[in-house]
């Protein structure tokens, strides 16, 4: 292999990687070279094969075809033993998974040393490790308290520990799977600063993402995967959002736009509502939701938005405070009450709460209204009405499935979400609660979700949009409130806010200063 003289040496080379799962081809003949000192973004929609590719690299999967070669200390490329994470570690590949692999009850130092120290080591190992880590922290800027327990660290700090763990094992190649998924915008910026510093010291870095903004900002080169194939490999300076979006999806993309609209009377009003105990709580929150508006609720995952969604879905009851729906007080309510009151609920975890996977598409479309006279007579199901409803919803919402009888579990995430949308929004609800409605969806399906929410708003419904994606919130919301540790900031018009301000509020900075 000839390397151009001016390019830095190759640290890692994937060639012709193909991986099939049954009938599905997750990766098809993917080539990817990674040079020393370079940050490469691996971009693609859900199911494009990004994670599969990185799992092959790290030895979790064995490729059906193709090979992985890693540079030795002297720069020569040697094949990596497939299917062995141990070999990958030995060869200097470090991986930071989306879900951290840390032992919560051990300290930072213990976690980092885990798996590297001999079984019956003396204190000397720990002292040497501490010295090495102090040096690493000084050079990388990744500072954590080595004696802190993992359970007491923030998400951002845990991620730093994961990176340090890889560096401690002398990683020359660092792989990060969706590293910003759980971070605030500021934490993400800090992470990318760190990654740039590490790259400058010669580390080769790949990060997986589906967020266009951060990919453009943080990478040197962008490799785009679509349906398992690499469709582009470009220097980041030659790319823009529109181009990347089209490469990911394979066709032109139009984004939904929110037209200005006057909002109406108060539909839903919460005052001093407290609910839940332990970590996931909401305490003393209040807001008014008006007809014809989208109220965005921003926040880093785990700050009480899940409990707020469960409360408004009728799965939890408030311990104190008032909830009023169209002026009527709501207390001791359950899910059926909320459905009857005209609240459409799009759950955060659509596979767990949204559909019964083992039942058919048709059954899932009517499950909320199964007791209505439309679908039953004297307790006997009206199969004809159910089938007709399925035909109507499948056509109206473009649900891609073999038919109403297909088992819901076999559908893609986007199509499952369309089932939920059809079921909830076709009933013309007055209030829509959308919890993380586009999480894990591809651009096309996300666009559908956004369009439907804007339609509901246009019809005069009040929409509560809970999301971690600031782009989504700013694109759709009339007003935005931020939830942090169970407390909700007063909603402000989206025009008066910017990403930086909301990001600071998500991190718990005082709302008054942040909104200035």
């Amino acid at each position: 292999m000839t390397v151009p003289v001016e390019a830095p040496p190759v640290a890692l080379s994937l060639s012709g990687i193909t991986k099939r799962f049954g009938a599905l081809t997750a990766n098809e003949a993917v080539d990817l070279d990674l040079h020393r000192g370079e940050i490469v973004a691996l971009l693609g929609e859900n199911g494009a094969g990004k994670t599969t590719l990185m799992n092959i690299l790290f030895g979790h999967y064995v490729a059906d075809e193709g090979n992985v070669r890693v540079a030795q200390a002297d720069g020569t490329l040697v094949p990596l033993e497939p299917g062995s994470p141990h070999a990958a570690l030995e060869a200097g590949i470090g991986m930071v998974h989306q879900h951290f692999t840390l032992a919560e009850n051990l300290t930072v130092l213990e976690n980092i040393m885990l798996g590297t120290a001999a079984l019956f080591s003396t204190g000397g190992g720990a002292r040497a490790a501490r010295e090495k880590l102090d040096d690493l922290m000084r050079r990388s800027g990744l500072v954590v308290d080595l004696d802190a327990r993992i359970s007491r660290l923030s998400v951002g700090e845990k991620q730093r520990v994961e990176i340090l763990k890889a560096l401690y094992r002398d990683a020359r190649v660092l792989v990060l799977d969706e590293p910003t998924a759980v971070l605030t915008p500021q934490e993400s910026d800090t992470l990318f600063e760190t990654l740039k510093a590490l790259a400058a010291q010669g580390l080769a870095i790949v990060f997986i993402s589906h967020k266009l903004a951060e990919v453009l900002a943080a990478s040197d080169r962008i490799a785009v995967l679509r349906l398992g194939r690499k469709v582009a490999d470009l220097p980041s300076v030659d790319c823009d959002r529109q181009k990347l979006a089209e490469l990911m999806v394979g066709h032109e993309v139009t984004m939904s736009r929110r037209e200005p609209q006057a909002s109406g009377e108060v539909l839903l009003s919460l005052s001093a509502v407290t609910c839940g105990e332990g970590r996931d709580t909401v305490s003393d929150i209040g807001f008014d939701l008006h007809a014809g508006e989208i109220l965005g609720i921003a926040g880093v995952s785990g700050n009480g938005q899940a409990m707020l969604a469960r409360l408004l879905s009728g799965l939890e009851q408030q311990t104190s405070g008032d909830i009023r729906l169209a002026g009527r007080e709501i207390r001791a309510h359950d899910a059926a009450d909320m459905i009857r009151a005209g609240v459409a609920r799009i759950p955060e975890d659509r596979h767990r709460d949204g559909v019964v996977g083992a039942m058919s598409v048709a059954e899932n479309l009517v499950i909320e209204e199964i007791r209505s006279p439309r679908y039953q007579r004297f307790g006997f199901l009206d199969f004809r009405a159910i089938a007709a409803r399925a035909v109507e919803a499948i056509a109206g919402y473009d649900i891609r499935c073999p038919g109403g009888d297909a088992v819901a579990r076999l559908l893609s995430g986007g199509n499952i979400q369309k089932i939920v949308l059809a079921r909830t929004l076709d009933a013309e609800p007055s209030v829509v609660l959308a919890a993380q409605p586009s999480r894990g969806l591809d651009i096309g399906a996300t666009g559908d979700v956004h369009r439907r929410l804007l339609e509901a708003r246009g019809r005069g419904a009040g929409v509560i949009l809970i999301s971690e994606d600031l782009d989504e919130l700013f694109a759709l919301s009339d007003r935005i409130a931020v939830i942090h540790r169970g407390r909700l900031s007063p909603p402000r018009p989206a025009e008066d806010l910017n990403r930086a301000a909301v990001g600071l509020m998500m991190a718990g900075q005082h709302t008054e200063d942040a909104a200035a």
Binding site: P82, S84, F383
Partner: protein, 359 residues
């Protein structure tokens, strides 16, 4: 290394073939025991088949034995559909039998056409209410129903023994712990002259059809399936999950109670503490072999009944212990559980770690 890969589609043929293969495998495993007992395997199975199907008398015995198994099989199938693990069919059977005897021995002075439905209803109600206890403990306190239903079996059987030694003891029973005989008007009619098969079989078949219709065609069945498959999504969709559990418990316990009614009002005419040779537990095997399908329960109950009846007859002829029947039943449960794995997953043998070392 062996890998299990989930199948995307399970063909109906595979679904039906699995329990059949499991049953055959169970017989094959049991043949080792027959051979170990020193008997000719093929002859033993031939005698079993003859004992179960070979004559009108054999058929009558088979159907009489299948009757309680259909009821307990349905009881387990209904409950398992909702993921309510009712292991208490045995206790509910005894509760049903106790109630049937209490009503049917003259406590109520009703004419025959009214007395029989009353006896049936009393038995079903007793079984259902008994199952309601563990179901309430589950939904209110989160108590594991596997434990509570199983332990209730022993409580109920001891209670029955107490009643048979005390208040319900037959004064004419020569000191045996048994109840008074039921009134003739309270007994279920026989289906054939001088044969043991009785009208309980008809009731069982109607129950199977009824359960099939309820599960497939009614709102209740829809809700039961939803709760069983995904209780979180069911709750989110506004389905009354607690009420569904209680309804299923009542139905399941009631069906098991009917098994007890059939045994006392159809066959024996009085209650003893050894009324059931484990029909409640065998019902679990029946339900699993049937893949929790009510129609399948009828077929599976006939198979299990055939094993029991055939093994009795075979053991009389060539002296292999009729415990063989228990062996076949137990083995077929294991085989059907294993076959379920093969139905849902593809099994692949893959070689891993054969690459050259990263030297």
């Amino acid at each position: 290394m062996i890998r299990f890969e989930p199948r995307e589609h399970v063909s109906p043929l595979r679904r039906i073939a699995a329990p059949v293969i499991a049953a055959v495998a169970a017989l094959a495993v049991a043949s080792l025991a027959i051979a170990a007992a020193g008997a000719p395997v093929l002859e033993a199975y031939g005698l079993m088949a003859k004992g179960a199907f070979g004559s009108a008398f054999a058929m009558s015995e088979l159907l009489a034995r299948a009757t309680p198994l259909i009821f307990t099989g349905l009881a387990a199938a209904v409950a398992f559909r909702a993921k309510l693990w009712n292991i208490g069919g045995e206790g509910q059977l005894y509760a049903g039998a106790l109630a049937a005897v209490a009503v049917g021995t003259g406590a109520l002075a009703l004419p025959g056409p009214l007395l029989i439905p009353t006896v049936i209803l009393a038995g079903a109600l007793a079984g259902g209410l008994l199952m309601l206890i563990p179901a309430l403990l589950k939904v209110r306190l989160g108590a594991d129903e596997v434990v509570t239903t199983l332990l209730l079996n022993f409580v109920v059987i001891l209670f029955v023994q107490m009643m048979l030694e005390g208040p319900m003891k037959d004064p004419m029973g020569m000191g045996w712990p048994q109840s008074e005989p039921m009134l003739d008007e309270a007994m279920l009619p026989k289906l054939m002259d001088r044969m043991r098969v009785h009208a309980g079989l008809i009731l069982a078949l109607v129950a199977a059809l009824g359960v099939h219709i309820v599960l497939k065609r009614t709102v209740w069945g829809f809700e039961t399936r939803a709760v069983g498959e995904n209780p979180e999504a069911a709750r989110h969709a506004g389905i009354p999950v607690t009420a569904t559990f209680l309804r299923v418990a009542l139905l399941s316990g009631g069906l098991a109670g009917l098994a007890g009614v059939g045994e006392v009002a159809g066959l024996k005419g009085y209650l003893t503490a050894d009324l059931s040779p484990g029909f409640g537990y065998a019902g679990i095997v029946v339900a699993m072999l049937a893949g929790l399908s009510p129609v399948g329960v009828v077929v599976a109950a006939l198979f299990i009944a055939g094993i029991f009846v055939g093994a009795d007859s075979m053991s009389r002829a060539i002296g292999v212990s009729n415990y063989l029947a228990d062996l076949v039943v137990a083995t077929s449960l294991i085989c059907v559980l294993v076959s379920g794995l093969f139905v849902r997953f593809k099994v692949r043998f893959v070689r891993v770690g054969t690459g050259k070392g990263a030297a």
